[in-house]
């Protein structure tokens, strides 16, 4: 199991719960979701409890994350987009912290499961569709007929626009899921090489010597994975902002 790169994604029941034939157990995944929420909420509430005019270290971090997400949202969707700020901020913090918690050895990565990332992206797309239709009604469909395109071309353009719109939740969720999954598998595989090289009987003394190479790779990949953890949370947020912009301003 130590060398099996897939076992880290295995979901194990901690508290079995079953309602009407549905398995709703509290699993290790649930535990880390709770941990993610707890970390984000505790951090933000404790760091801002002083309400310092001159921020301390932790409050600075909280303010930075606030300004960072606010600027991202404002630049993508304008000031009207700020009505979605709690959603976008929660998404960013949830994905970021879930990714980062997953970087601890033996910890479970919530975002390495497609269903989680897909649910989050459906939340985004659902918000876009519901808000778009509620605000603009049928005009929201102008999303599929871009301005400046001759009406004749709508036969061609509209299906493309519809397909690209429908593929958004897929690409949004698969991007995050695949990045986290692939990164953790790669890390595990290279880390596994270290132990198997040391344990290799045929190599003798050379086994531990060669094991330095995958070890160095593991260290480098760990750094890369931290970058990916942040970057994917950011990409998820930026795309969310852009889709929300469509809901606010459907006519491009």
């Amino acid at each position: 199991m130590a060398n099996d790169p897939i076992s880290q994604f295995k979901i194990t029941k901690l508290v079995p719960i079953e309602v009407g034939g549905l398995d709703l157990s509290f699993t290790n995944s649930s535990l880390f979701m709770v941990a993610t929420t707890a970390v984000v909420a505790t951090f933000l509430i404790l760091s801002t409890s002083g309400r310092g005019l001159v921020p301390g270290r932790w409050q600075s971090v909280a303010e930075m994350s606030y300004e960072f997400v606010a600027n991202t949202l404002r630049s993508a969707a304008g000031n009207e987009g700020m009505r979605f700020f709690p959603l976008v901020f929660s998404l960013f913090m949830f994905v970021l912290i879930a990714n980062l918690i997953g970087m601890f050895p033996y910890f479970f990565t919530v975002t390495s499961h497609l269903i989680v990332t897909f649910a989050l992206s459906m939340l985004v797309i659902g918000t876009v569709m519901i808000y778009g239709f509620a605000k603009h009604g049928a005009k929201f469909l102008k999303l599929f007929t871009p301005d400046g395109v001759p009406p004749v071309l709508f036969i061609l353009v509209t299906p493309i626009e519809i397909i690209s719109f429908l593929s958004r939740p897929v690409s949004l969720s698969v991007r995050l899921f695949a990045n986290m999954l692939a990164g953790h598998i790669t890390l595990k595989v290279f880390a596994g090489f270290v132990t198997s090289l040391i344990a290799a009987e045929g190599l003798g003394i050379m086994g531990p010597v060669f094991s330095v190479l995958p070890l160095a790779m593991t260290v480098a990949l760990t750094g890369l994975e931290f970058l990916v953890a942040f970057l994917q949370a950011y990409v998820f947020t930026v795309l969310t902002c852009m889709y929300l912009n469509d809901a606010l301003h459907p006519s491009h």
């Binding site: 199991m1 929420t37 045929g202």
Partner: protein, 188 residues
Amino acid sequence: MATTGAETQHGSTNAVIEIPADEHSVGTFPPFDGTTYASQLLWLAITFGLLYWIMSKVALPRLSGILEDRRDRIAGDIAEANRLNEESNAAIAAYEQALAEARNNAHKIAQDTREKLKADVDRRRAETEKGLAEKLSQAEARIAEVKTAALGNVGEIATETTSSLVEALIGKAPTATELNKAVDTAMK
């Protein structure tokens, strides 16, 4: 060689821990194991919903409040600084104006004083000159008087002396008419 090592270890550890792993459908890739979806969705909904609620009700209003307070405070401080700056500028302008006025006044006073002194000096000089001229003319008059008197006396003395001399020379005193005539001629 490395792969054989990995496989042997893989095999040996799997043998020990395979029992709990059997609980789930073995062989399914965990992310695609549909039996876990319901639980994941439920707990995601609960945790993310809770996070959203905490963010929108507590954390974000507080953060935006802090940032707004700071922005207001900074804007207020800048406005106050601008006001003070303007005040000090006005004070500097007033001071400079007062300084310029004072300088003008001083200049004027100096000018006036100079003119007054000059007039005073002129007047006194004129007075002195006038007094001197008066005294001079008086002195001249006296000199002329004395001179006239002296000249009158000279005629008399000359006449007497001439009379005495003539008497001594020729033993006979000349007449007064002759004497006067001779003296007058000589004095001219």
